[in-house]
Amino acid sequence: MSLWKYANPVKFLALSARVQPFAWAAAALGILIGLGWGFFGTPDDFRQGSTIKIIYIHVPAAWIAINAWIMMLIASLIWLVRRHHVSALAAKAAAPVGLVMTVIGLVTGAVWGQPMWGTWWAWDPRLTSFLILFLFYLGYIALWEAVEDPDTAADLTSVLCLVGSVFALMSRYAVLFWSQGLHQGATLSLDKEENISDVFWQPLVLSIAGFTLLFLALVLYRTGTEIALRRTRALNVRLDKAV
């Protein structure tokens, strides 16, 4: 079985229709249980107090913000190399979801940073690259809207996506190679010493899973929307010619 058969919109939509009910249900469950457990069922941190509860939204949102761009990068590369329309439309569909998650990451980070760091914002490498990633999301969406021909728009946005990937990776890894700034290291780690306590870790992982499944459900649905819009445009052109 080849993965490339899903480049066919009909086959992609059929698979999407089968996956979506499970994705929506699992996303709702993951988010409700993860956030509910984190908010109601975990203790305060000895240093951060109740602001530790912000972790259950901040970390999953930042995770999606960065990985949505990586998903867009892969889809853009597929478009550039193999010219499959579904992949370009999937990248387009993911961008607004990534943008909203970036805003949530920035806002919840600022709200947490004010009482913990004493400032809403610092020009820290991770924060700055995350802000630049937000601007790239805006630029990417604006470029799709600005260019009339869909294939040209897909080409240009794919190139923009390649450039923006530097900042997506930097907002993930800046903290490792730039030993300055306020932002702490990774919240989750395979190293038991580094990783947060199990009492916070378990609801956080559930919440991350819920956000990831929500991203999947949203992107599948939104890609279906983009395919519908593309097909409508093609039919209308055919009708105009026929009249």
Partner: protein, 53 residues
């Protein structure tokens, strides 16, 4: 409701803003999707009608 202490405003506003933004994204996604699918159905019907004439 858990005891949030002196950081109640920060925690509640972070959750409130997140839920609001996610709800807005969900509503926008579903409304745009419904509109696009309705437009496609209409275009398909018109194409079929045109084909018969």
């Amino acid at each position: 409701m858990p005891e949030l202490g002196k950081y109640a405003t920060e925690v509640l506003s972070a959750y409130g803003i997140t839920l609001l933004l996610m709800l807005a994204l969900l509503v926008q996604t579903l409304r745009r999707g419904a509109k696009a699918r309705a437009a496609l159905r209409q275009a398909e019907q018109e194409t079929a009608r045109h084909g018969k004439n």
